[in-house]
């Protein structure tokens, strides 16, 4: 961790490795410093491993453990764990273990889709606002402020009544709420990047605005963007569960962890622990994993930003 501490090292020009001046260049091990920083970070590693395991469980699991997650079997409802159902069945007679996999798929897909959508849009929006500056920036940022000032729940409720809650619909919905933070972050980043000399250098060569934004500003804001995207995945999965709790989630037979948990909570007191704790644990573990990763990336990228 100390490597990340901006200690007295920062005072002078940094000394990466020992490439002899104008002599042989020794390429440091990692091309992308954040990847290197991550590799040595236990928190990041824990997050990554956890995510990998969960993804494996959700995407590869169903290949090994086949269950019917479509047909309701009321006669098999709420069986306790055992027999053919390692984690029992739920109130619809769905196998809980299989449902955790299916639910995880949609939760993860949703999280990733939202992260990608918001990141792309938010980044471009923020980058152009920051680069253009002046009136355009002011207007664009006031629009962001406006969206920020309207509680997310308002937008959600109104949107839910406008769209049928399908997975793409919810992705769109959550994206509408989540693009604001990357937009703000990227703009902030661009405002500082804009004054960096390499941006001036690009203009010196005759580079146009879009070129500067797309070629220089956006890639350099990538750190911020990746971090925010990682957190967005976590937040979207959480938000979906809140939507389910409010009765605005995806309708059956669609499965996701939030809906499973909400449904399971009805059985909190009656001993059907398998309906409550497995979805809770995996949901929390996933969100924690993405947060750990994002947090570690954040640290790692701070190092990088400070070094270059």
């Amino acid at each position: 961790m100390t490597a990340a501490d901006p200690g007295p090292v920062a005072a002078g020009p940094p000394v990466p490795g020992r490439p002899a001046e104008a002599g042989p260049l020794t390429a440091p091990a990692a091309r992308r410093p954040w990847a290197a920083a991550l590799a040595g970070n236990r928190r990041a590693l824990a997050g990554l491993v956890l995510i990998a395991l969960i993804a494996l469980f959700c995407f590869a699991g169903p290949l090994l453990y086949r269950t019917d997650q479509v047909t309701v079997h009321l006669d098999l409802a709420q069986l306790p764990p055992g027999g053919g159902h390692p984690l029992g069945t739920d109130a619809n007679g769905y196998d809980v273990l299989g449902r955790l996999m299916a639910g995880g798929r949609s939760s993860l897909e949703l999280g990733l889709a939202v992260a990608v959508a918001t990141t792309v849009f938010g980044t471009l929006y923020g980058a152009f606002a920051g680069y253009l500056g002046g009136i355009a920036d002011a207007l664009m940022m006031r629009a962001v402020d406006t969206f920020l000032a309207v509680p997310g729940l308002v937008l959600l409720l109104i949107m839910v009544s406008m769209f049928t809650p399908t997975l793409p619909g919810i992705v769109l919905l959550l994206s509408l709420l989540s693009w604001l933070s990357p937009a703000r972050l990227v703009r902030g980043e661009v405002l500082t990047l804009r004054t960096r000399e390499f941006v001036q250098a690009a203009r010196m060569m005759g580079g146009t605005g879009p070129r500067v934004v797309l070629r220089h500003l956006v890639p350099n804001a990538a750190g911020v963007v990746i971090v925010s995207a990682t957190f967005t995945v976590a937040d979207s999965i959480l938000m979906l569960s809140t939507l389910s709790f409010l009765g605005l989630g995806l309708p059956p037979p669609h499965a996701d962890w939030g809906t499973m948990l909400t449904g399971g909570l009805d059985f909190l007191y009656d001993g059907s622990w398998w309906l409550v704790y497995p979805p809770a644990v995996i949901l929390i573990a996933t969100v924690v994993a993405f947060n750990l990763l994002g947090d570690a990336l954040h640290d790692a990228l701070d190092v990088r930003l400070q070094r270059t």
Binding site: D5, G7, A11, V15, E21, E197, Q200, M205
Partner: protein, 715 residues
């Protein structure tokens, strides 16, 4: 009686993610009361860490290794419990840090921060601590100290902050003051003031001082003895005079030689130290300097030399030298050009042994007309440039429209193949002028013409094409290269934007550029952060060259670089100019650098060009008192000369550029100023061929020719 400070076998290790950094290794020295010890060396060689280790202020993961000993007046400090060590810190031993901008807590008043150590160590009342704060602030020469007590750091200028920091350190009259690069972040003029202040205080208070610096000039004038550090060890230790005249360690010798001097022949290349200091997480066996040492033998690589010699002069070297290197050691520009043409360049030469570049001597033949004829049209011309930045909030009703006068009515010309140097203190408008010249910014008045075309009138495609002729090299090699682009992409970008050549041609050109600046082609696949500072600056130069410009504006091209690397880049710039017939505008606050590169020099003060002349003229016969002051303030790596001029230089600080003084802008700091200077703005007058200055009371007699001719800025 034991020495005041006795340091033995000080060894500091820092555990980090990539291994243990041996930041300080086996450092021993003593310090007597009233003495100043200099710690010099390149960046990262353990100077700061030595200072911090004395106070036990180690970074996370840092430990003092068994056997280290620091005795203050015979009392062992190593191993003292933290509570007792704290009574030493800030009381017996105090420290002043490099960066006055970040070393003060932005949310606490100056008074609070200066009084804090007094309260802490002296157990006095709050009021008494305040009084003491007023006293020391007065002592360090802060005007109106009582009023300053309730100021916050950001309300002070850099120099004032450094004074406040020093006051804080001196509040308890420590016996030892460790000053870690106390002037590196400051202008030469302020640097001279602060150094004078420290010397004065040391004499008055009888303190011992450890002065950490990388600047040989500063060392020369301000220390009694010097420890030269290299890679965490002391390489050489002796009295200051002896070090500069009779150094024994090749490192010291090279370090000194690579500093450009005002008096040096600009036609000569600067000697350099190839390579970089070793990685302290994995230091080489044997002599740590061996890799960069021209005299290194097998023994050096196998066996570590001990710090040995007489008590007066100790050094750690198997093949000691004797005294300074001959001046020609660096070779000459013309030869370097020839060397580059044969494909090796400096890079190849570096590994060959004795010196960088072919050692054979020769005369410089510069491929340019040294005396630009008045008839020949100038390549670049600035006419009456004005640039003013409105202050924030000045749009509010009921407030005056206040502007920062960054550049006021500046005119000059640049001939083909010529180098024009711009010097001046920080904030005097150098960068702004540079940006105006290359068209990154538009002037509020006046015009920049390139080969007769006013670039201010160009738009769109025309402007883009014209940009090829004007390129810029930036100060900070860390921020001027896009960290997300490989070097190949960085160098191709100008060609792509301008749509020059096919992909294959572009690649060929990029390879050619790399060779030109002495970087191996393999470097193309790397990212900027994988290069050292000097290498990056080379990439920056290569990028500027890509479009074969006619003019390159270089804004502080070497000020972020270590001395040894600085010399390499300066040499490269000279070589490129000779090879391509480039014209340079070199901006720097370091007169020595400008003197080394430039044919003509322009001195800026508060947005105005106060003196222009050939480099030699300006140096030899400065007409403007400001120029003379600047020259005096530049530290020279020569102890005798430095000591002689102590206290000379310019007093005071740069006035607020939003409200420049009336008349002559320099009058507030000018020793010769009279009442006329406040009333009347001095016009440029001629002081010989191509030498003009704007001063009512110049240091030399003006030439008799008509001032109107000069006013146009035409030499």
């Amino acid at each position: 009686m034991p020495p005041l400070l006795d340091v033995r076998n000080l060894t500091t290790h820092i555990r980090t993610g990539r291994g243990t950094v041996r930041a300080v290794q086996d450092v021993s020295f003593t310090l007597e009361a009233g003495e100043t010890l200099g710690l010099v060396g390149e960046s990262g060689c353990g100077k700061s860490m030595t200072g911090l280790s004395l106070l036990g202020l180690l970074p996370p993961g840092g430990t003092l290794v068994e056997g280290s000993s620091v005795r203050l007046d015979g009392r062992e400090l190593v191993g003292l419990p933290d509570r007792e060590l704290r009574t030493v810190r800030g009381n017996d031993i105090a420290m002043v840090f490099q960066d006055p901008m970040t070393s003060l807590d932005p949310t606490k008043t100056i008074g609070h921060q200066v009084a804090e150590p007094v309260l802490l160590h002296r157990g006095v009342s709050r009021a008494a601590a305040r009084e003491r704060a007023v006293e020391v602030l007065g002592l360090v020469g802060l005007p109106q100290p009582r009023r300053r007590l309730s100021d916050y750091p950001h309300q002070l200028s850099g120099g004032q902050r450094q004074r406040a920091l020093i006051a804080m350190a001196l509040a308890n009259e420590p016996r030892v003051l460790i000053a870690d690069e106390p002037t590196t972040a400051l202008d030469v003029t302020i640097q001279a003031q602060i150094l004078a202040l420290l010397a004065d205080l040391r004499a008055r208070l009888g303190m011992a001082m450890i002065l950490i610096t990388h600047d040989m000039g500063v060392t020369a004038g301000n220390t009694d003895r010097v420890n030269v550090m290299y890679a965490g060890r002391i390489a050489e230790s002796t009295g200051t005079d002896r070090l500069f005249s009779r150094m024994r360690h090749p490192y010291t010798q090279r370090l000194l030689a690579s500093v450009p001097r005002l008096t040096q022949d600009p036609a000569l290349l600067l000697p350099t130290i190839p390579g970089l200091p070793p990685d302290l997480a994995d230091p080489p066996t044997g002599c740590r300097f061996a890799d960069r040492c021209p005299y290194a033998t097998a023994r050096c690589r196998a066996e570590e030399p001990q710090l040995d010699g007489t008590a007066e002069h100790r050094f750690a070297c198997w093949h000691p030298v004797d005294g300074p290197a001959p001046a020609e050691i660096g070779g000459k520009v013309a030869d370097a050009v020839a060397g580059a043409a044969t494909g090796g360049g400096e890079g190849a030469a570096a590994t060959t042994g004795l010196a960088e570049g072919p050692a054979a001597a020769g005369t410089v033949v510069r491929p340019r007309a040294p005396e630009p004829a008045a008839a020949a049209a100038p390549l670049l011309e600035a006419r009456g440039l004005v640039r003013e930045y409105p202050l924030r909030g000045s749009w509010l009703p009921g407030r005056d429209r206040r502007v920062v006068h960054a550049v006021s009515d500046v005119s000059f010309t640049l001939a083909r193949g010529e180098t024009f140097g711009l010097v001046g203190e920080s904030g005097c408008g150098k960068t702004t002028l540079g940006r105006l010249l290359v068209g990154l910014d538009r002037p509020d008045a006046g015009a920049v013409t390139l080969e007769g075309t006013d670039i201010g009138t160009l738009r769109g495609g025309e402007l883009r094409r014209r940009r090829r002729d004007l390129q810029m090299v930036f100060q900070d090699p860390f921020s001027s290269l896009d960290p997300r682009m490989r070097v190949s992409a960085v160098l191709r970008e100008p060609l792509r934007i301008q749509g020059i050549g096919t992909a294959r041609e572009q690649r060929a050109r990029v390879a050619e550029l790399m060779a030109e600046v002495g970087l191996p082609e393999r470097g193309l696949d790397l990212f900027p952060h994988e290069f050292s500072g000097g290498q990056r600056q080379r990439v920056g130069l290569a990028r500027a060259l890509a479009l074969t410009p006619k003019v390159i504006v270089a804004d502080e091209p070497v000020s972020a670089l270590d001395v040894s690397v600085r010399a390499q880049v300066l040499n490269l710039m000279k070589r490129l100019q000779a090879a391509h017939g480039l014209s340079y505008v070199v901006i720097s606050h370091d007169l020595a650098v400008v003197r080394h590169l430039a044919d003509r020099i322009g001195v800026m003060y508060l947005g105005r060009l106060v003196e222009v002349g050939t480099a030699a003229e300006v140096h030899r016969r400065p007409a403007h008192p400001y120029t003379a002051g600047l020259l005096a303030a530049v530290p020279v790596p020569d102890p005798a000369q430095e000591r002689a001029k102590r206290g000379a230089g310019i007093g005071g600080e740069l006035p607020d550029p939003a409200a420049p003084p009336s008349g002559c802008r320099f009058r507030t700091r000018c020793p010769l100023a009279q009442e006329r200077c406040a009333r009347e703005e001095p016009a440029l007058r001629s002081f010989g061929p191509g030498h003009t200055a704007a001063c009512h009371f110049p240091l030399v007699a003006p030439a008799a020719d008509s001032p109107s001719d000069v006013a146009a800025g035409r030499p």
